[in-house]
Symmetry: C2
Subunit: 641 residues, 2 copies
Amino acid sequence: MPAGGVGLVCKDPVPSDIEVSQTAVTPEHISAIAKEAGILEEELDLHGPYIGNVKLSVLERLKDAKQGNYVLVTGINPTSLGEGKSTTTIGLSQALGAHLDKKVFTNIRVPSAGPTFGVKGGASGGGYAQTIPMELFNINVPNLQISPVLAANNLIAAAIDARMYHEQTQTDEALFRRLCPNKNGTREFLPPMRKRLAKLGIDKTNPDDLTPEEASKFVRLDIDPETITWKRVVDTCDRHLRKITVGQAPSEQRGKERSTGFDIAVASECMAILALATSIRDLRERLGRIVVAYSRAGDPVTAEDLGVAGAAAVLMLDALQPSLMQTLEKTPVLVHAGPFANIAHGNSSLIADQIALKLVGEEGFVLTEAGFGADIGAEKFFNIKCRASGLKPDCAVIVATVRALKMHGGGPQVTPGKPLDRAYKEENLDLLAKGVGNLQHHVRNMNKFGVPTVCCINRFATDTDAEIDLVRQAALDAGAYDAVMANHWAEGGAGAVDLGSSVIKACADARAGKAGTGFKFLYPLEMSLRDKIQRISIEIYGASGVEFSDLANEQLDRYERLGYGNLPICVAKTHLSLSADPSKRGVPTDFTVTVREARASVGAGLILAMLGDIMTIPGLPTLPGFFNVDVTDDGQILGLF
Amino acid sequence: MPAGGVGLVCKDPVPSDIEVSQTAVTPEHISAIAKEAGILEEELDLHGPYIGNVKLSVLERLKDAKQGNYVLVTGINPTSLGEGKSTTTIGLSQALGAHLDKKVFTNIRVPSAGPTFGVKGGASGGGYAQTIPMELFNINVPNLQISPVLAANNLIAAAIDARMYHEQTQTDEALFRRLCPNKNGTREFLPPMRKRLAKLGIDKTNPDDLTPEEASKFVRLDIDPETITWKRVVDTCDRHLRKITVGQAPSEQRGKERSTGFDIAVASECMAILALATSIRDLRERLGRIVVAYSRAGDPVTAEDLGVAGAAAVLMLDALQPSLMQTLEKTPVLVHAGPFANIAHGNSSLIADQIALKLVGEEGFVLTEAGFGADIGAEKFFNIKCRASGLKPDCAVIVATVRALKMHGGGPQVTPGKPLDRAYKEENLDLLAKGVGNLQHHVRNMNKFGVPTVCCINRFATDTDAEIDLVRQAALDAGAYDAVMANHWAEGGAGAVDLGSSVIKACADARAGKAGTGFKFLYPLEMSLRDKIQRISIEIYGASGVEFSDLANEQLDRYERLGYGNLPICVAKTHLSLSADPSKRGVPTDFTVTVREARASVGAGLILAMLGDIMTIPGLPTLPGFFNVDVTDDGQILGLF
């Protein structure tokens, strides 16, 4: 890729995101991007001319290759407008690849259609720092990855209710006769049944040899409906599905109706599994380990017990391939997996990072994005994703804006769809000085992981030089490796060249032992679940202590008793504050957090701790984003933003 | 394509469908199939090496091309095991294309994952007459087509409940302020709002000019919750979603909870629209016309009123492209759209047929399948699909089996998973003679549409020659053009050469005016809705009369009052009997049918009449198909059947 860019001409003022995406450059055929990135033709499954799914065989081919520099992009606690973290990830990639002559990959999450058609709009970056074509990024890639997760999740859900129904309405004998039907005189155990028998300690292989007691244990999962944690999902902002009652048709009345709900698809444990799986085998095994409920005797009931884990893996098989796309300056992007950061672990896939690190080689760079604020997104990146992958990040980039820091300093509410207060459009060093603490807190947090931090001050047109300087100095004071203004939204990669240079230097210094103290986890897995939650809350959020509800205590006790105590923690918490209270801006002090509820994602390998009331499926506002979206007679998409 | 086949070697006994699919032949790259079929490289969007989505631009390029022979494949009322209608559609295609030197396309429906993982298994054909690779057909094509339908359907559903919620909890002023927010001093009406204003007869373009009364009418759809017909969908057999209550979370309690339910995705009106749309514009307009409910004043509330039709079209845009695959003998298959025949109109897409008819040219053949028995699938093909497309079928193939005809003659119950009674494995001319009336009834029905019929007796290994002869003679007695035994399941296209020759002859004779009486509809659109339902029931099912419930009468009156009276009828009815009672085999007489309920699919352009209790979402059996499904460490899929 030539230094100096690939001829991206930036207009002033910057047109809408979709206009830039559709008109600023002609995208390359993705085969060309793949070839340039070192992906072989037979390692790419095309999905139209601009999306290519990368096969996992590339990992086997490159297993002895050296790995590139691994850069995390994260942010301060944002306003509800977002502070350009995705945009910075893309802009930095354009700078490194198209202006600084580095091999680079940008790895980002697949966007949920919920926000796309609800409040937030697309997630392909913005302005002249975008993944293109943005309509494929926002519509087609989600269909390749989120739809299969939805299908797998909902097949598991249907399997739970159907199994309970059949157990409620049939005798042991009838269940056994149906599960092991006599075909031409013989009965057999199907593979998932053999796994269940092994779990029950029954080593018989001929169904006819089971005693009535063994047969009863075998056919009855005996799910306690009160313990079912598995919910159905949609990829739609549909608040009316938050709490529902199912099983109310006359045809189901021989069973029992049940209170349950839907989550947004990206909150599914299946999505977390997609993001953390290291191979097809690992995907399959994790899906089998999913605990959906407990039996009345207190034993975990898994997707394997339901016989549905293999089918779930088949549904998700192709989604395990990262989707290759391109930026406006023709650098490669891997879009893969999309768990939300507030209600899930918030990182793109482990497998995409592994692939990209091999492809860029020792001197190359892989940028990977952690969702929302660094207190949740980056913390989970380090403690969950890096632990699962064994990969060590070389550098962290924290994205901050003058706007958000002013808000942390006490500025007026920032609300989507409403005009910005003048405090955000005029120089206000006083407000800003009161707010920079939020950035400083995140810088100090990064240092606790031993990783050098480059702060990116994502420039808005109204920011003054004095304001930029103030933020820069505050970041350095807190121990940042560097702090750099960037203007990629308006200028593309050319606007992030300084940022890119700083990241290159930080990585080199980190490798040479001259920056950071060496990557380390915040907690060892051997700590108790409560201690781990406490350490995160105190060290990262700045809480003075943690309270646990009776329900949470009971659940955590159960998880430790069942042997899940050594799993890492995934906190569900608002992204708008370091605390669990979205209204507390800046650096809240003297607060405690309360773990309302815990959940074991045994397949993903996480214990979820819910701080406060976390909505696991958003709603639609009065004027949802979809009102703007339309298609012309010749298929051009309008109004994605 | 060379006469004599492409080297398919058939084993005896025939291995499992997935084994045949994975091992019998090496599939061609789909680009080669496309090229051979006359599709240009730029008209194909690849989805991996074996699926290619055909762009609609091919229709523009070939708009002056002559059209090929149009052959409908349908069947008698089947047993619950199915009688090989899909298999015959594929086998006949292999015969025509690989053995009889004809240009041919086979157009079939995309399979729902519900049955794939539930009872029925895949739908790619069977034995040596299959669409391959069958795992892509059963997993990936549904994700390309059904997942977007699901997403569009559920976005519309969320829009309904969200809109009601916001209207319930806000004043006119607040609603107006949010729908037309003040941005930099100006307010504007978005495009869907302008359509709503036009519908209300308000011709103002500046939001500030509306009177309070006009603003109130504009912001309040005032949906009567009792009239909502739009349901959410999943593509999963999940019986516990048949009837549910939504909106029970505390966050929704300012609104009202509501009883509703889920359908299987293929029953969605969005799927019917996908199957009937003739262009992107037509897709968009049909989605806008969808009536989801009525206002308290009795006016229809549409997806356009909700502002969601454009977004739904964007979600479904790529699904409007038929997916090109191949048979075991390398003939082209278009897989597109998949409405069930019992609860929807049961035909693959109109657009795929249009494309294929142009591509094969005047001397070529397009086989298109109508779901389930000819009493529902074919009747809807003629009266709904051919009316929407303006295409005229040249010939109908009715698939029958000795097994099913024996069942119609009074043979014992045939149940999936249970061994077949010996009546079906040994010669029993008596039982068969009593049952052939079902086939004869369907032949006479086809003649009412003026189309010559070739009966295909789909041979099972246990059928005797005397049995085949009996069926053959019965078909001819009833006025079939021909009746031919075929054995494609065991022999591939070579087993259906006689059938193929007969179809070629029937089409030639039909074109020459020597077979059939010329295609005609069963009813004109101008008839009243009740008269149309009566004509179908009496002429096609053989009913002596039709009863209408009070609810149905009220609904049909409303639809005629609203101007929907000239839409064609789509009957929802069991496929297992000519009557509405699945237990009535053979040719039931002296029965009436009852229209329990009607529904207006204004977007699809259909009035649904529900005969009896039609399940619109199936359930999972005690031993669902998914128990067999798994994936190996290297990604090979096992156990699809």
